[in-house]
Symmetry: C2
Subunit: 272 residues, 2 copies
């Protein structure tokens, strides 16, 4: 019997932190990763544009016969998830809902901090997801635009990174949040440093980890998990020259990035 | 008599530093600025893609009857200038050549530093332009990926910015460059801080300033300068929702950004 793959996409390289968690949680699964490097970033684009892009990529992956789609991109999760869920024949998992659910589970005080890119914070997607689950939660948010370039530069624990983290996080720390959601797929790379800055009393919620757990639970519930004796294969597609993706991607995956193929979505039919 | 406008484009907001210098040098001129915010950044895209985008934007501006086109984007200047010059009926000015020329004029030691985005540095466009003018020049380059997000965040002279500048510039300083080219349209915002870090013995070359001078010289030579008693109008077009452009752009232009119109290039015919 042939087992289908798990499809994962992001606007670029950030979703690899989600892939990394999936590889760790479900090492037996094959994965197809799509990084839309020709059109990164999504955060500055209009919802209509992002929905169209997400539809094109989903269509590309569905044709390659995936059994589940992970939208490993906060912007696309915030705006395109309802459309994708309605139109695709497989389960669709975003990165916002799992992180929000975990935050609600672990908070004691109900005072939850959320950090992300300017676009994610402006969209209020996490705040809304958290309030839906726990209407009396108090959600404090902070955009941290420099964290993505710091992670991509590999400056994940130097003086610049620490100073930047202090500037961004001081207010949340002083406000006494007991839980902090890392609401951007790049941030898991900065997690040890962020944990240090926030101190031992603040629980960090890693959306990548929670998303991997959700994927595992859904596949288990549907009887679609591959036997765990197997060893998964991992394929990577990007929409523009792979050089930058390979360089930064290897940093994200600890050097384990395999072959990366450049593809054109123009030749594909879209579903939306 | 109606005077035509100067057309300027960039992948996003960075080219506004070039516009700012043109407004200062030639306050009588009308300008049309195009920021390709739907497709920013260009630095990660293939040359073919950037040439196509540049052609689409040039076509849009030519239809609005410009008398000169400024490619206020390092990536597009590096790859699309020959194509645009061949195909357009007006003079085309990039940002690389003016900066390179100025660097060659002011250096005494012939040891010239160039900083820019990873893409610009990888393209070697400045090194080649400098060596063409002064084959015995020694060009030392350094990519400074965090400078763009720092400028956009408005962190142009805080502790994080200074520490980052020290990390990026230390080597060039120790190597004894006497001239440093700011090879990215965002960097003029960081200029006072960079000047401070490099010290009084290093001459900074601001590509935006040099580009404005070149524009002025070309228009003067062709008798196309508007009488200086006039006061120029400035229009802005962007290819995606203007909110982010307006916020960051006002920081770049000191709050003087006028109305910004969102346009779709899909409806336009292209020239390339």
């Amino acid at each position: 019997m042939t087992w289908k793959s798990i499809g994962i996409f992001d606007s670029g390289v950030g979703g690899l932190t989600v892939l990394r968690e999936i590889m760790q949680t479900l090492p037996q699964e094959d994965t197809l990763y799509f990084g839309d490097t020709a059109r990164v970033p999504y955060g500055t684009k209009s919802p209509e544009t992002v929905i169209r892009y997400a539809g094109e990529i989903a269509s590309f992956l569905i044709k390659r016969d995936i059994k589940l789609l992970v939208v490993a991109c906060n912007t696309a999760s915030a705006v395109a998830l309802p459309t994708l869920k309605r139109q695709l024949p497989v389960p669709v998992v975003g990165v916002i809902e799992p992180g929000a659910r975990r935050a609600v589970e672990v908070t004691r005080s109900g005072r939850i901090g959320v950090i992300g890119t300017a676009g994610t914070i402006r969209s209020s997607a996490y705040s809304r997801a958290i309030k839906r689950l726990k209407p009396d939660a108090e959600v404090l948010t902070r955009a941290c635009p420099l964290f993505v370039p710091l992670a991509e530069e590999g400056w994940i624990d130097n003086q610049v990174a620490r100073l930047t983290a202090h500037m961004y996080l001081q207010e949340l720390k002083e406000a006494g949040v007991d839980t902090l959601v890392l609401g951007c797929t790049h941030y898991p790379l900065l997690k040890p440093m962020i944990a240090d800055v926030m101190g031992p009393d603040v629980m960090l919620v890693d959306s990548a980890e929670e998303t991997a757990r959700t994927v595992s639970a859904i596949l288990a519930a549907k009887g679609l998990l591959r036997p765990s004796a197997e060893k998964g294969n991992h394929n990577y597609y990007v929409s523009d020259i792979p050089a930058g993706f390979v360089r930064v991607g290897n940093r994200f995956l600890g050097g384990r990035l395999g072959d990366v193929f450049q593809v054109s979505l123009d030749d594909e039919e879209t579903i939306t």
